[in-house]
């Protein structure tokens, strides 16, 4: 028996709603508020039940319009590589600084996606980020943390 991915997602949402409902019941409210008509956990409790209801309906009722996705054509390699690269970008942006981490992120993502025009790869990374930083930091006065540029004395 084949279970459609949409039903699996709905089942996961059902479990998530159950967990949400359980957590909603655990919310600590003030003693004087416990029997009030409305307190901090009232709305989340209703939401938990609504989540259970809609996901259960989707699981039980027949699918009249199933979503057909050909999994064989999906590009897992590039997508996962980009996601990992974004996580690394998030990890380095504060420590290394905005300029270097952003430029390297852009260079690597162009390469991951198959770009090999090196002149454009360069133009749309280091100089592009420098101009963008100048616009934000220099003209619009938006603070950008960059320990690297501060270390080499370019940024104050």
């Amino acid at each position: 028996m084949n279970i459609s991915p949409s039903k699996i997602i709905s089942l996961l949402f059902f479990i998530f709603s159950g967990f949400y409902l359980y957590t909603a019941h655990q919310i600590q409210v003030f003693t004087f508020d416990e029997n009030a008509a409305f307190n901090a956990k009232t709305f989340p409790i209703y939401l938990g039940y609504a989540g259970l209801l809609f996901s259960a309906l989707y699981i039980i009722l027949p699918e009249t319009k199933p979503s057909n996705v050909d999994l064989s054509v999906l590009d897992y390699k590039k997508t996962i590589s980009l996601v990992i690269l974004m996580i690394l970008y998030g990890l380095t942006i504060l420590r290394v600084g905005y300029f270097l981490s952003t430029s390297i992120f852009l260079v690597l993502s162009y390469i991951i996606l198959g770009e090999r025009k090196w002149t454009w790869i360069f133009i749309l990374s280091f100089p592009f980020v420098a101009i963008f930083m100048y616009l934000l930091h220099g003209l619009l006065n938006i603070y950008l943390r960059d320990p690297f540029l501060q270390y080499i004395g370019i940024m104050g």
């Binding site: 319009k65 996580i87 162009y110």
Partner: protein, 499 residues
């Protein structure tokens, strides 16, 4: 009202704000033109920048981006038959055949003039309707607002899901759940924070919009191995032909524009219906109005067939601002993003906005009109040059979208946690999109979550915990009746009706 219009004009015509409309229209056209990226992504990418400005300036920039993106979407529909967003699908029916006949310039001009005329007529309607509705909406109470919010969410789910109503409703609940993270507004009790300080202020609206639209759209293009710019590489984007219209074409447009504007505006005001439905209805209506000879041309490059959806589309965009400005309840995903931005500025749209912040109320309305003028006189002649954006390789396009998304969040929080959270939500959103779980209902619910809880709180406290507030007032009964009709119809359509 005249005084208000003058205040609005004064604000919108200041040099700074005029510049913002121009920048917004230009940036919106470029982003909206890229297949797959619609007005919501365009506005989402602009939000972090707007927070550096005054509320009216920020909103004017966003209004410019909105109209620019709508115009840009029509351009890609006409030139490469790639309507990245549903609202420009009807434009491609006759716009693309015209472009294939070597009349791309003409098709773009018809689209631009129709959009301008539709937007102008709708702006006049908005000018008249918004203040009157603001006064009427002062009579609305918490139960009515609560009902209206459910109505908005249900209607958006019904219209945006295209046969996936339950999936859309799950997205509504998920949006409300995400909105419930953080401290309770009244008691400051932490909810769903799991003792993580980064969650105590809740999840940022910009983060959710960026993750579910800009970032997830970029990831979806890569995941599905789509190359939206492939078609653009096969045609000449610099030689689009003349943009001048002859007398017959102008005459045809003159008859089409008024009726499509009225239809578009009315549809736009209705919660959830929006410009997609307006454009399809206008196309269908126009086909019934024209003579048999013209009817044969529909789908093969008809002037009426192109002018009607474009007019209705823009008129609906203006119409969708009516519930946002007068009731504080957005009727579409795009206006939900606008509401989120307004709340970010500390402005609560609604009937009192007209009285408390008249300069914002009127400047937004006036800047819409100025935006349309700018689109017509600046963007139309520049289209052969702007259209080259369509040929930007996705290998450059996608990393730049991801870069702007991460930068947007980084500038707002300087926090790694928010970047990781955004990546996580974007990955989930990409998977959900793949299986037709729509994102606009999630955004609308996320934006409305706090307001909905507040109005439910007031209603339940007034009625001493009883749900009778849902049928105590005639207005609430009417709203609830409409909600049940929509839900009932969707369930009947989805599960019981054959074909």
């Amino acid at each position: 009202m005249i005084e208000g219009i003058l205040i609005g004009l004064e604000t919108a015509l200041s040099l700074k704000n005029l510049m913002m409309v121009m920048i917004g229209c230009f940036a919106g056209t470029i982003i909206g033109m890229l297949p797959g990226l619609g007005p919501m992504t365009a506005i989402a990418l602009m939000i972090p920048i707007t927070y550096g400005f005054e509320p009216s300036t920020g909103l004017i920039l966003m209004a410019g981006v909105y109209y620019g993106a709508v115009f840009g979407g029509s351009t890609s529909s006409i030139l490469i038959n790639a309507p990245g967003i549903p609202r420009t699908v009807a434009t491609s029916f006759d716009g693309y055949p015209m472009a294939q006949q070597g009349k791309a310039g003409k098709a773009l001009a018809i689209a631009a003039y129709s959009s301008f005329a539709g937007g102008t007529i709708a702006a006049i309607f908005l000018l008249i309707a918004a203040p009157s509705l603001s006064k009427v909406s002062l009579a609305f109470r918490s139960p009515d607002y609560f009902g209206l919010m459910i109505l908005g969410l249900t209607a958006v789910s019904a219209f945006s899901a295209k046969g996936h109503f339950l999936k859309a409703m799950m997205m509504v609940v998920l949006g409300l759940m995400l909105a419930s993270v953080g401290q309770d507004t009244l008691s400051d009790i932490p909810r769903f924070t799991f003792q993580n300080m980064n969650l105590s202020d809740g999840i940022s609206f910009v983060l959710v919009v960026m993750a579910t639209f800009a970032m997830s759209e970029a990831l979806t293009i890569i995941f599905k191995a789509n190359d939206p710019t492939r078609v653009a590489k096969q045609i000449s984007l610099s030689q689009l032909g003349s943009i001048k219209l002859d007398k017959i074409e102008t005459k045809k447009m003159i008859t089409t524009i008024p009726r499509s504007s009225v239809l578009g505006f009315i549809i736009g005001v209705l919660p959830g219906a929006g410009s997609t439905i307006a454009s399809f209805l206008a196309y269908g209506m126009e086909r019934n109005f024209v003579n048999d000879e013209e009817k044969q041309k529909f789908g093969k490059g008809s002037v009426n067939g192109l002018a009607a959806p474009e007019t209705a589309n823009n008129a609906a965009c203006s119409g969708s601002f009516v519930p946002l400005l007068t009731l504080g309840i957005p009727g579409s995903g795009t206006t939900a993003v606008m509401l989120g931005a307004l709340l970010g500025f500390g402005i609560q749209p609604g009937p009192r906005l007209y009285q408390t912040n008249p300069e914002i109320f009127w400047s937004v309305i006036m800047s819409m009109y100025i935006g349309m003028v700018i689109l017509l006189i600046l963007n139309l002649p520049l289209i052969p040059y702007i259209a080259r954006v369509l040929a930007t390789p996705r290998t450059f396009l996608i990393p730049l979208i991801l870069f702007f998304s991460v930068t947007g969040i980084y500038l707002m929080s300087f926090n790694n946690f928010d970047i990781y959270l955004m990546i996580g939500i974007a990955v989930f959103a990409t998977i959900l999109r793949l299986y037709d779980f729509p994102m606009p209902p999630l955004i609308l619910a996320f934006v409305l979550g706090g307001l909905m809880e507040e109005n439910l709180r007031r209603s339940l406290l007034i009625s001493d915990g009883s749900w009778s507030f849902l049928w105590d007032r005639p207005l609430t009964i009417v709203i609830m009746f409409i909600i049940f009709t929509i839900v009932g119809w969707q369930i009947y359509k989805g599960f019981f009706r054959k074909n």
